[in-house]
Point group: C2
Chain length 519, copies 2
């Protein structure tokens, strides 16, 4: 078989069943292989940032890698920003990047560029396949690399560069892919941390990663109840299971000063599946670390079961404290981000997957949805905007039986709006709510924090970062997605109910005033 | 002054008067400086690929660099594809990439990444400013680097990474920027080539780069008339001046086999401002070079005046052969790409800047517009799609008194559609024609050329690369751009006339059948 089929058949052996793609000429043999390999669902995206973000969303929800198929360096370039988020999420993900034929490279044809250097900035693993005979093994190695933990993260981005002649030449063979091995924790290390929790005041448990699911949260709650330790969740978990019946924890605040204040009393910080917290940005005259001076850091690691084992050691007879079922009442009157959050909390369907890129408009959402039926909440992990719509697209492919709710800021929505076309073409169950405040409102908060502005500059800079005139109803309709506009809480309620009830993708252009002083 | 102002004031000294930007928190001091520096026009873009493509279009038309302002690695990542095109165009361009504060870098905050490796893939010059005191000189060096020829190209992409503390700290100073020096040619080298042209049969002159303007084309025409040399233009000139009264040459065909056939008889190939021609892609069993075996290659170089000097040597008394004024008649009936080309040829306004990313729909355009009033034609230089709308945006900023006509393929348009919002906000005189054939039609040609398909795969692959359901009227309206749909030649004629006559940006969604067997 040719190299393309060797790669694709190896992906099938490894359980990879979807490929988000925007291919070009150099990937045509991979396309030909894909359309005749029924085990792999090819999904066309109109921009590579949609493909890579969708693979991130798919990987977060399916727990196994999706693949992408990208067109040389520029195609990978367009996908980098969402690969950056995937890297920070620890999502297992496999990029297949087509390239010129091996013998064509020395000619430096117009589309040629240094793919490896580009890929290295987001990938845990990069390889170029030089011969068809290696294609299957290289694909198997890519799968293994994507599932190999990177520090506290469960997996990573693996990028395989496939020259076109490697794909079209015979001599390839599919190879078997061993099952993934979950990392193990050391009992003695957990027992050391148990001792610290038992014997000290001022312990703070920071949970994240895989512990943001039901079992980890329950364990954290038991530890808190039995030892008196404070518990916080990491700021932006890649996937957070939450709702009625689950343990609930405050998340580390985004604004640096609030985060510092929140961590101020800690003398022992136990990291459970996450990293040492740092300020998202630097601010003049303020340290980058958020950890108080003299606080000792203890790393429980990210291996599955470590936190539960810790709970069994320190809280053997203790039950977790869980959130009661509770939904906000339906608000009325002119729509605001706060009222929209209440409506979302009131209507959130059971089993929903929420993709949150609402930025400044998101501050009321965690509270309003805490007692809703159990759902997953996916966050922006690497700070690179434009993840929401693609991640929602991929999550809907991974979970066809679950409703996906994508909460989007207007500025972020404009990065990868082409996602809507793929949602329409594939008939995905995604409801997108755009919080349309006609502004890059987060920069309005930040410009005060960084102290860059005085007097007249403030007015000019604010007007510079306004983004008025975006009609998301028209744009969604232009890509085949049903859309409505809500200016009141009543309209938003009616529209959200209808969007969730009707099959296929929908968008609601929620007109809200900007939130000031928000996250 | 702080580092941000030192950079901006140095840009002003260097004649840089525009900055296409999508900033974030780490760039706020640069934004504050920009909004209070009247010599620099800040232009907000809703996606970085728009900013970098606009800077490419601006640089091609203004002949001096524009700057961009981008947000860390992910912001640069989103801009890479159009920087790749700018690199291949040799456009002078300066990226200012904000980064975390120097002391924040070791903390590996979520948005942190390896900016230099990413920038290196598209830049002729990359530097990180470490101290405010260096900011002015680094900016001056960036300007100089952007104007330094890179081989046959007149300039390049210079990327300056600016940590936020370098921007907000005092101690910076603006520095003077020396005027750019045009490269010189060696008379003796030109004389050697003159001898070859005089003494040999089978000479082919391949013109490109700066010779694709009136003076270079006239010189090439005189050389052809006096020596009998064949003349071809490079495949994708960054900027091509053409129309009635200018010398006109066939362009090297895109399809490899056609290009090989066209060059078959050449025994001496003289390169005048361009590189050795190579196949755009590799195809199974076919060589990458287009140059016939035994053909000698002679490089005239890209220094201004070399081709004119050559013409003065070999054709002292010869006048150039120029194109007569001639426009096609207006067609009627159902719209096709061919009829749309005729309408464009019939109506093209004098002094227009045409940005051509029409892909398969472009094959009739060169012929239909050859005798139109003098205009510039900007092409896709690096093969990375999504350049058309941004380049048109930047060209309109550079040339506010000239109408810009952007000829777009539907698939390419969807890459950087956000350009329309900037065109609306800035009131730019851009008319966009989307050739909407509901397909990645170029891949339909390529899949036959690469031989990837047989039987059932052809049908499946064709249906996979269809992109139906895109309503560009709705999407343009959603960004504040007036738009209409044309299904007949008469509608297209009426709409194009109106779009060019009315102020501000317009879009025409030109519904056409796919072209088969095209370029």
């Amino acid at each position: 078989m040719n190299g393309a089929r060797a790669v694709l058949n190896t992906l099938v052996h490894g359980g990879i069943d979807v490929c988000f793609t925007n291919p070009g000429t150099s990937e045509m043999h991979l396309v030909a292989g894909m359309v005749s390999t029924p085990e792999i669902r090819g999904i066309l995206c109109l921009f590579e940032g949609v493909a890579t973000g969708a693979a991130d969303g798919y990987g977060r929800m399916a727990g196994r890698p999706a693949s992408t198929l990208l067109h040389l360096g520029p195609g990978l370039g367009n996908g980098l920003a969402n690969l950056h988020n995937a890297r920070r999420a620890g999502t297992p993900l496999i990029n297949l990047v087509g390239d010129h034929a091996t013998y064509h490279k020395p000619f430096d044809a117009p589309l040629d560029s240094d793919i490896e250097s580009m890929a290295g900035t987001v990938s845990a693993w990069v390889r170029r396949t030089e011969r068809s005979a290696d294609a299957g093994q290289d694909a198997a190695d890519a799968i293994r690399a994507s599932r190999t933990p990177v520090g506290y993260l469960p997996g990573g981005v693996a990028t395989l560069v496939l020259p076109s002649d490697v794909c079209w030449s015979d001599g390839g063979a599919a190879v078997p892919v061993p099952a993934a091995q979950a990392p193990l924790f050391e009992e003695v290390a957990v027992e050391r941390i148990a001792k610290i929790l038992r014997e000290n005041e001022g312990c703070l448990l920071l949970v994240g990663g895989g512990n943001m699911r039901r079992a980890g949260l329950a364990a954290a709650s038991r530890i808190a109840a039995a030892t008196g330790a404070d518990v916080l969740a990491e700021k932006s978990p890649a996937r957070h299971e939450r709702g009625a019946g689950l343990a609930r924890f405050e998340r580390l605040p985004y604004p640096r000063d609030l985060a510092v204040r929140r961590l101020a009393g800690a003398r022992h910080l136990v990291l459970a599946g996450t990293r040492e917290p740092v300020s998202f940005f630097a601010y003049p005259g303020k340290p980058s670390t958020l950890i108080p001076a003299g606080c000792e850091v203890h790393d429980l690691g990210a291996a599955p079961g470590a936190l539960e084992y810790l709970a069994d050691l320190v809280a053997p007879g203790t039950a977790p404290l869980v959130t009661d079922a509770d939904r906000p009442g339906l608000p009325s009157g002119e729509l605001t981000a706060e009222k929209a959050a209440a409506v979302i909390g009131a209507l959130l369907p059971e089993g929903a997957v929420v993709v949150d890129e609402a930025m400044t408009s998101d501050q009321w959402l965690p509270g309003a949805t805490a007692g809703a039926p159990v759902h997953d909440w996916l966050n922006i992990t690497g700070g690179s905007i434009g993840m929401g719509m693609p991640v929602a697209t991929g999550a809907a492919v991974a979970c066809p039986d679950r409703p996906v709710l994508n909460l989007e800021a207007d500025g972020s929505a404009m990065y990868t709006l082409q996602s809507l076309w793929t949602q329409s073409r594939e008939g995905l169950e995604v409801t997108t709510v755009v919080f349309n405040n006609a502004s890059y409102a987060i920069l309005d908060s930040e410009l005060r924090r960084v102290g860059a502005f005085e007097g007249e500059d403030v007015r000019r800079s604010r007007s510079f970062i306004d983004i008025p005139g975006l009609d998301f109803v028209a744009m969604a309709n232009g890509m085949g997605v049903s859309a409505t506009r809500a200016r009141t809480a009543e309209e938003f309620t009616r529209q959200l109910r209808a969007a969730v009830a009707e099959p296929g993708p929908h968008l609601i252009d929620a007109v809200v005033p900007p939130v000031t002083g928000g996250s």
